[in-house]
């Protein structure tokens, strides 16, 4: 009986009262793999990384003109920051709009999952304007493809490169370093290990899974040269003037800068990589993407997200096996998950994150868009500002992170606000059973019916124990 609730609320994003409940829940989910739109209307209107980068390049040119005085420069910088914030805010609304009306809720949920797995954080100012385009360009088109394709797209996206300081990572023996050392021997140009570390620790193998610090350094060296056109500063910008291979005419695009690349073979977890140029790091990433450790890491996170904070070991093993067998084919992984009896055993095993709760509330209230709402501040009030987890590890996916005293009160306040704006146009007594089929308890329904006003009843529904979980 609760299969519908599980399909709609745990795998999906929450019941929409204007959509008929599926007669065959599993088939309904599988069907969504074919209905998914990588670029729905809500996202199509958002600026691409290229467009954003072009804007910055032009803005930077304005700032750097010799005639510009200090006041103009300050004003130009402020304008740039405001634009970055506006882009970010607008992209968050687009993400919410997409979540409200998607024809494929499970795939949309998977987009959010992967976006969090490959997390960037907008509190790093340079990454902020690209937070939305990251999800739109690196995640959305690859969610039904191969893990390795998503991985490469992520590591080559300006958001990730800027967030983890890859753009200006310079090999100690690269051409640029040698030239610069010639001019100024005291000036050291830096290798940046940030991205390489997070690739191993967070994106692929997982922490303590058999790689060493030496492996991280080797990967970092292999990745030198992986950069973004038009957005480097300082020495990298100077390189652009020298390096005839780079394509500075396409700001925001991934570019390989040979002058930054550390020459020579690299050895990573016992394997020697002697490919030249861009292909070297690419080969490493492809191996990482199909490693058993990665399979296990991804399987664990997926099972945790969809089934329980303590993922059932048998399910993790099955998922990892499916991952390895297919070389990381994501739809196979998803089908294994949908088929898993562990996922259908009981409803309400996962405490909703603030994003989960907010989106399911808006869907439950029948909203088709977020007009009149500012989603970013709302997620901030609830404790989960979109694309701003503060660390590349992303948001935690366990109840302990979200089920906290003050967090509950925030949800109650927001529920009251959402309910007040609906007033008595929705009757929570009839909405409750629709949103929580076979899950709504008579105790909660009773409390709703006894509420002193229609909007109180609605607020109670949204904060009820049954609605706080999926």
């Amino acid at each position: 009986m609760s299969d519908q609730a599980i399909a709609l609320n745990r795998f999906g994003l929450g019941v929409r009262p204007d959509e008929a409940p599926p007669a065959a829940p599993k088939a309904w989910l599988l069907d969504q793999l074919d209905r998914y739109e990588a670029r729905p209307a809500a996202w199509a209107a958002q600026p691409t990384s290229r467009a954003l980068a072009l804007g910055f390049v032009e803005g930077r040119a304005d700032r750097q003109r010799k005639e510009a005085d200090a006041a103009t420069k300050i004003a130009a910088r402020r304008k740039l920051r405001m634009q970055a914030r506006e882009t970010y805010v607008s992209a968050v609304n687009a993400r919410a709009d997409s979540a409200l009306t998607t024809p494929a809720p499970i795939v949309e949920r998977l987009v959010h999952f992967w976006s969090n797995h490959f997390a960037i954080s907008a509190d790093k100012l340079v990454a902020m304007p690209f937070a939305g385009s990251f999800e739109a360009e690196a995640i959305r088109p690859n969610v039904l493809g191969r893990f390795s394709d998503m991985l490469i797209a992520v590591e080559q996206h300006p958001a990730m490169q800027l967030f983890l300081d890859q753009v200006a990572s310079i090999g100690p023996n690269s051409r640029l370093a040698s030239m610069a050392a010639g001019r100024n021997p005291n000036r050291k140009f830096g290798l940046n290990e940030n991205l390489a570390r997070e690739i191993m620790e967070l994106h692929t193998l997982g922490v303590r899974s058999g790689y060493s610090q030496a492996d991280v350094t080797q990967l970092a060296q292999a990745m030198t040269g992986w950069s973004i056109s038009g957005l480097g500063s300082g020495p990298v910008a100077r390189v652009a003037a020298i390096d005839v291979d780079s394509a500075e005419a396409d700001p925001g695009a991934f570019v390989f800068r040979p002058a930054l690349h550390e020459p020579g073979p690299r050895q990573i977890i016992g394997v020697v990589y002697d490919q030249p140029g861009e292909g070297q790091a690419r080969a490493v990433l492809l191996d990482l993407a199909t490693s058993p450790a990665t399979a296990r890491h991804v399987a664990t996170k997926l099972a945790r997200h969809f089934v329980a904070d303590e993922p059932p070991p048998a399910l993790v093993t099955r998922l990892a096996a499916a991952f390895l067998k297919t070389g990381g084919d994501l739809p196979t992984l998803y089908r294994t998950l949908i088929d898993a009896p562990e996922a259908w055993a009981a409803p309400g095993t996962k405490f909703k994150t603030p994003w989960d709760w907010l989106i399911s509330s808006l869907r439950g209230l029948g909203r088709r868009d977020v007009a009149g709402l500012q989603v970013l501040p709302m997620t901030n009030q609830l404790g989960q500002p979109v694309w701003r987890p503060g660390s590349p590890a992303g948001w935690d996916d366990v109840a302990a992170s979200w089920a906290a005293p003050d967090a509950l009160v925030r949800r109650v306040e927001m529920a009251q606000r959402l309910a007040n704006s609906v007033g008595d146009r929705i009757d929570a007594r009839t909405l409750g059973p629709r949103l929580l089929p076979a899950v709504l308890t008579s105790a909660t329904l009773g409390a709703i019916s006894r509420a002193d006003s229609a909007s109180t009843g609605l607020a109670l529904l949204l904060v009820s124990p049954e609605f706080q979980r999926r």
Binding site: F351, A399, A403, A404, P405, D406, L408, V409, V412, E413, Q416, R417, N420, S421, V422, G423, D424, R425, D427, R429, A443, T444, A447, S449, R450, A451, D452, S453, A454, T456, G457, A459, L460, V463, S464, P465, Q468
Partner: protein, 384 residues
């Protein structure tokens, strides 16, 4: 001429920050110099402890610890007294500008808040039978003015919904969760181990365990704002204010006293905000049904039937209690538990509306309450 929106914005941002137990104001406009304000008490406000029938022999026994001592209350006449928290309201009574109505109810006889409020606001005889409210129908009866009505609330309440235009404007401040809602959530989480523990911790921090009064509320600011807006020559003529927190199933002594105190502040500041226009204004305070005559096991009362209403304003023929009092003897109680209603609230509303705007009472009754076959609007409520 419609009030420029910018003026409205600055008007509202100045005054009503938080709201007392989440009241909201809704306005509509028409060309007349009379004003009408409907203050709804959502949650079944207890009429018996508001307008106290102290001289009824059964009152004290029924109410036990909840019974108000007449020595503490304001004596209205030989039978009734006013709850001590209604200080300014009592002064209005003594000045002849307030009258109480008792043992009054809508035609609804069940006990669901949602359904009863719908009946109260639509003027229908059954829940959800009508899709618009009597206050909106009243707007349409008035001389055609600028039909540019504005609701100071996120949503237009049922009583003001209908063909006559009422636009809405949401207040700038985010309301914090009302105490009533926090209490209900606590009850909802009782059976859930995880949420119950978290919620108890949260409430301890907020000090709800103690009886600390809440100073977030700003009934005074709200009343003044509403009054000053109604007072403008080109301003609204009809307003609705929503109040809540009246559903006192437990702890009624403290909670009702608090609610009535806020109501008293709201009324007084509304009068102050109206200034001389108070003489042209009628305020109706009413609720969807009353509460049980006897106290329950948790220091409160449960859903009942008959309750009290109040009329206030410069023209009110006040200083009296209008009631066909049925008494609280066991045989007199409705269903053996509630104050029996002896007046239809629709008759009260039709009378008030007709007299406020100098309209034909029969026409008002027929327009506002078309589902009622025989409705005799109460007369003599206002000095014409």
């Amino acid at each position: 001429m419609p009030l420029p929106r910018r003026q409205l914005l600055s008007l509202f941002a100045a005054g009503a920050g938080a709201m007392f137990v989440a009241p909201e104001i809704v306005f509509a406009r028409a060309a007349t110099d009379r004003r009408f304000v409907f203050i709804i008490q959502r949650g079944a406000a207890d009429g018996l402890d508001t307008v106290i029938p102290y001289a009824d022999p059964a009152y004290a026994g029924l109410r036990g610890a909840l019974a108000i001592d007449p020595a503490d209350a304001t004596r209205l006449d030989g039978m009734f007294a006013l709850h001590p928290a209604l200080v300014e309201t009592a002064k209005l009574y003594q000045g002849g500008q307030m009258l109480c109505v008792h043992a009054v109810a809508s035609p609804y006889r069940e006990r669901s808040h949602f359904d009863a409020q719908n009946v109260l606001e639509t003027g229908g005889t059954a829940p959800y039978a009508l899709r618009d409210g009597w206050l909106n129908r009243l707007v349409s009866l008035l001389p055609r003015g600028e039909d540019n009505a504005i609701a100071f609330a996120p949503t237009v309440p049922m009583a003001l919904r209908g063909p006559a235009e009422v636009s809405s404007y949401a207040p700038s401040a985010l309301p914090q969760a009302t105490d009533d809602l926090l209490l209900r959530v606590g009850q909802l989480y009782q059976a859930d181990r995880q949420l119950h523990a978290l919620w108890s911790a949260a409430m301890e921090t907020r000090g709800l365990a103690s009886d600390k009064g809440d100073s977030r509320q700003d009934a005074a600011g709200l009343g003044r704002t509403a009054g000053s807006f109604l007072a403008r020559p080109d301003g609204a003529r009809i307003a609705m204010i929503e109040t809540g927190g009246w559903d006192t199933h437990s702890g009624q002594n403290g909670r009702l006293a608090y609610g009535l105190k806020q109501l008293d502040i709201l009324i007084a500041s509304l009068r102050d905000g109206l200034g001389p226009v108070w003489d042209q204004t009628t305020v109706l305070v009413a609720t969807e049904f009353g509460r049980t005559a006897a106290v329950n096991g948790t220091g409160g009362t449960d859903h009942g039937t008959g309750s009290a209403a109040m009329l206030l304003g410069g023209r009110v023929n006040g200083g009296r209690v209008v009631a066909d009092w049925p008494g609280l003897a066991p045989g007199a109680l409705y269903d053996g538990r509630d104050l029996r209603p002896t007046m239809n609230i629709n008759a009260l509303v039709a009378g008030v509306a007709a007299q406020t705007f100098a309209l034909d009472p029969g026409k008002v009754a027929a327009t506002l309450f078309s589902s009622e076959h025989v409705l005799r609007p109460i007369e003599g409520l206002l000095w014409i």
